[in-house]
């Protein structure tokens, strides 16, 4: 008489921290938008939208990324916070946008 093997129940994964979730989504976004020029495609990507959906908890992580001058996270900060600290003359200048957001972060009391 044969026996049915017990199914192995996968162990529950530890919950993902906000930082881990952000890094996972950011890596996916980078991988899938590396050759994208369209801003609407960049900000419409599901991983980007999920990062924005993480809300204020992710703001320090985004500021840290901007401090290291990686990626276009000013776009996510604008959508999460509703703030717009980039001067009109600096629209499109990614370095100046990052600088403006870092100033904004300090003024708002964020630590990253």
């Amino acid at each position: 008489m044969s026996t049915v093997p017990l199914r192995q129940t996968p162990e529950a994964l530890p919950p993902e921290s906000a930082a881990q979730k952000f890094q996972r989504l950011a890596a996916l976004w980078r991988a899938e938008t590396a050759y994208v020029s369209s801003t609407s495609d960049l900000v419409g990507h599901p991983a980007f939208l999920e990062i924005v959906g993480m809300g204020p908890a992710v703001v320090p992580l985004l500021l840290r990324e901007l401090q290291n001058r990686t990626d276009h996270w000013h776009r996510a900060l604008r959508r999460i916070t509703g703030a717009d600290p980039v001067a009109p003359a600096d629209r499109g200048n990614i370095d100046r946008a990052a600088e403006a957001w870092l100033r904004w972060g300090k003024e708002q009391g964020y630590e990253w």
């Binding site: 938008t33 050759y35 369209s38 990614i94």
Partner: protein, 156 residues
């Protein structure tokens, strides 16, 4: 950033000659590069986050891109071959939405900034595919410096 083989994203480059001409840089994109601006991200986003020529519609249409390059002195033309005394830009679109812009070099080859990634020199239609679509608009303008000097600037 990631290191996907370019040929995986642009199958038309497979087996063709293309040259990577710059390190990766996300400070400027293909439209800026085609427009001769290596310091800004150009896009007609409706939120106004990116650079776009004043007075040109912020719309993801070939017409808006035509108008943007017209501000730089380009006029539409009917072919992408090298013409003495002119420089050209080309706009790629997919399903009517612009996806990419490239500019012609004095050699007749084309320079493209692959957005968050590198600049490459390539044959124009080798970028045709699912990522950027195909060339929907070619424009030209008179060179303002002698061709010889321009060629020297282009490096190659």
């Amino acid at each position: 950033m990631v290191d996907l083989p370019l040929e995986d994203v642009f199958p038309g480059l497979r087996g063709q000659r293309f040259d990577i001409k710059s390190p990766k840089d996300d400070a400027y994109n293909c439209v800026a590069w085609a427009a001769g601006d290596g310091g800004n991200w150009w896009w007609p986003d409706p939120d106004g986050e990116d650079h776009w020529p004043a007075g040109v519609a912020r719309a993801e249409t070939v017409a808006a891109f035509r108008d943007a390059f017209a501000r730089l002195g380009y006029t539409p033309c009917d072919h992408d071959q090298l013409e003495a005394g002119y420089e050209k830009v080309a706009v790629f679109a997919l399903a009517g939405r612009p996806k990419h812009a490239a500019r012609q070099l004095p050699t007749g080859r084309w320079a493209s900034k692959l957005d968050l990634m590198e600049d490459i020199e390539h044959a124009l239609h080798d970028l045709t595919g699912m990522a950027y679509g195909s060339v929907m608009l070619v424009m030209k303008r008179r060179l303002t410096v002698p061709q010889g000097e321009k060629a020297a600037e282009g490096g190659s």
